[in-house]
Every structure is written in C-alpha cells, then in structure tokens.
Chain length 235, copies 2
C-alpha cells in the first residue's frame, strides 16, 4: 500500500499501454464522493464513470479500502495550508483548525473514512510536518506536541461529523416529525434538565448561524486548554 501511496511502482515493461492511471482514478473517485458521499462510491459506479469494466480498476488498486486511503491522502495533499509567518501560537493553531475545517467542508467524506492503519502517504506526511510546526516555540516535548496536534484535529473532526450529520432544513423537517412523537412518549418531568437544555440547544441548532457558534465555542475551549500547557513556557 505504501508504495502505491508514494507512486513508487516501476512502469510495466511489457503489454499494452495503460488506459488509466491511479491519479485519474483518484480524481474521478473524489468527484463522485464529493457529489454523493462514500456509500454510492462503488467499484462499479466508479468504473462506469471512467468508462471501463469494474474489474479493470483492480489492475490499478488492490481494493476499495486502499482506494479510500488514496482518496484521503490526495485530499490532504491538495488542501489549502495557510502560512504561519508572524503569527502567535494561538493564531497558528487556529489556522490549522480552520484549514482542516475547510478540508472537511470541501470533502465531507474524509471524516467517514476510517483506515485500519494510519495513512502514511505524501499528503498525510506533508500535512503532519506543516501542522506540527504550529507548535514551534511552545516548549512542548515531541510526544506532547503530537498529542496536542491530535487533540486539535480530533476536535475538528468531531465538529465536521456533527455538521455533516445535519443541515438546518432537514433538521427542521425531522423535528417536526419526531417532536410530537417524543412528547407523547416521554415524560418531560422525568428529564427536567434534558428537556430544558435540549430544547434550548435544539432551537439554537436550527438557527442558521449555529454551526459557527458551536465552532467558535469549541475552538476557544481547545485553545484555552492548550494555553495552560503552553503559555507558562513562552511567557
């Protein structure tokens, strides 16, 4: 798998020339996944999109799981990365978070791929290298630097998942159906806090600018959480 990610396979010496390329496949698959998600991205659908028979794909890629890893690494390689010049650590970490949020908005399926093992491709490596640098000068040990980055990225992924799960319109429609049923079945006095907070949160969620509020809230917590670790070091 790793040689495939790094495009290290030597070109074939014999036989007819290849009609496709791993990159062409990755590009088409990305287009399909962007359009309709990961589930409809089947080997048959992808082959159809490329005008070849399904089994042809297997001459380029060992299987679907590996294809998904290629997709992720490619998405991550080509994502926007803003520079860190002249920024303080909070701004740098915010930039990393925002870049990743943009990635998940452009390719919502990225958060849904879960590779059995870390995807050690050029995209992932470049991303890791870049993002680790956000913690330069923070006085973190190598292990803590990695943990801090994981902490930030896990937050972004969780936010992206939440955001992907719901849009204001579909939420509205769903609550219109589920709300009455729930009210009929559950006694609010058994769950006083949940009923009150859940209602408030639910209403907020249906407002258009809620995702941005939730994001700002979470990111502030992440930064404050790291500050306690970092700022004693940099004064």
């Amino acid at each position: 798998m790793i040689p495939l990610l790094w495009r290290t396979a030597h070109p074939p010496r014999r036989g007819p020339s290849r009609g496709l390329s791993v990159d062409a496949i990755v590009q088409a698959a990305t287009r399909l996944a962007d359009a309709s998600g990961l589930e409809p991205l089947t080997m048959r659908a992808l082959a159809g999109e490329l005008g070849v028979a399904p089994m042809t794909l297997y001459t380029y890629v060992p299987g679907r799981a590996e294809l998904l890893e290629l997709l992720v690494d490619h998405a991550v390689l080509t994502m926007a990365r803003r520079g860190f010049d002249g920024l303080g650590w909070r701004e740098r970490v915010s930039a990393v978070a925002e870049d990743n949020r943009a990635l998940h908005r452009a390719h919502p399926w990225v958060a849904a791929v879960d590779p059995a093992r870390p995807v050690l491709g050029p995209g992932t490596m470049a991303k890791y290298e870049h993002e680790l640098a956000a913690f330069d000068g923070c006085g973190l040990s190598d292990v803590d630097r990695d943990a801090a980055l994981t902490f930030v990225l896990d937050f972004v992924t969780a936010s992206a998942r939440a955001e992907a799960r719901s849009s204001p319109e579909t939420d509205e429609a769903w609550w219109a159906g589920a709300g009455p049923v729930l009210a009929a079945v559950m006694d609010p006095s058994s769950y006083p806090l949940a009923a009150r907070v859940g209602t408030a949160a639910g209403e907020a969620q249906r407002s258009a600018r809620h995702p941005d509020h939730a994001w700002a809230f979470g990111l502030a917590r992440v930064l404050d959480g790291l500050a306690a670790l970092v700022e004693p070091q940099i004064v």
Copy 2:
C-alpha cells in the same frame, strides 16, 4: 422508531404468541457485537444466534439501522454512572468522561454506530439528563451547557476510536512491516519535524501505558479549556 425505543407499542391482539422480544434481540445482538464487532453482526448471524429464520427479526425491528440504534440506547441506558455528591465541577466532568470511557471499553462498537439522527431513547435521555448536571453551578447558559457537554463527549469518543484502532502488539507487528518500506520510499530530510516527532510519538504509542498518558493529556486539556469559561463564574 421512537415508540420502539421507548417500548410503547401495544401488544398484539390476535395471532400466535411471540417467541422472542425486542429485549432478547437487543441482548443477543449486544453479545455478538461485543464479541466480534459491528460488521459480523448481520441479520442472518443474529437470527442464527437466536434460533430463528432471518426474516423473523423483521417482525420485531424495522431493519438493521434501527437495531443498531436500539443497541446504542440500551448500552447507554445500562452503563455505570457515578454520582456527583460533594464533587467540584472538575471532578464531576472527569467522572462523566471516565464513565464514557468505560462505556466505550465495554462496547467498542458504540463509537462506530453513526445514526442518521440523534437516538432519542430512554437511555440517551437518562444519560443526557445525568451528564448535564455535571455542569450545575457553573454559570453556563443552556446552550453553552449543551456545547460544553458535547465538547467533553466528543473528546472521549475520539479517544475511544483511537484506542480501538490499535493495540500495542498489533502496532508493533505493523510497524515492523511498514517501517522499512516507509523508510525506503520517503526522504526523512523532507519531513524533519514529522520524522522526529512521529518517531517519538510512535515509540511512545507502543509502550503499554501510552493510552493512559494520552487520555490524561487530553482530559487535562478539556478541563483546562472549560475552566476558562467556568471558573470566573464560580470563583
């Protein structure tokens, strides 16, 4: 779905008595999922476990997706919840986090279920009610209280996913295979930070007590992050 979660369906008036029950199905399915994960939990396998034909399950449950929601709600209903008596907010929030970690350790598949919509069953409601109370006296608005809880739970889920993905032994074996290949293909001087930090983090990860360190690190960040929001209020 909601009436099914709340077991609100009226018993049948005619016909032969039922040989199974939703609870029996949920119990067997949980046993199967605990033993081997979510993927081998097929309708056929579950039916076999229960000694009925596969289609029989559909008289109790609309489909597999709904079954998984039932599983989650049941797991969440029966999870251990430690009390909050006499604890400060940090200890209460830690307790919530630890309880959820225990849940994910007992039922690693819980983090892998992703329902299209929130699972509004009795388990989820009881959990929400209980966990919201951890933020009593913190001076949070209802919306922020919900956001704070989400923040904590998202962290726990991300940790659980990471922990489920890897165990020290299989990691060791995998790195033994992937390491040399990666070294052959990637130029470490192109990724100086990544190579150094990645190596340190990878070595730490393979040590037996790493999961606990990662957990402590993340939980400390979560609490510190919330502290900046909470403690001005409670002095």
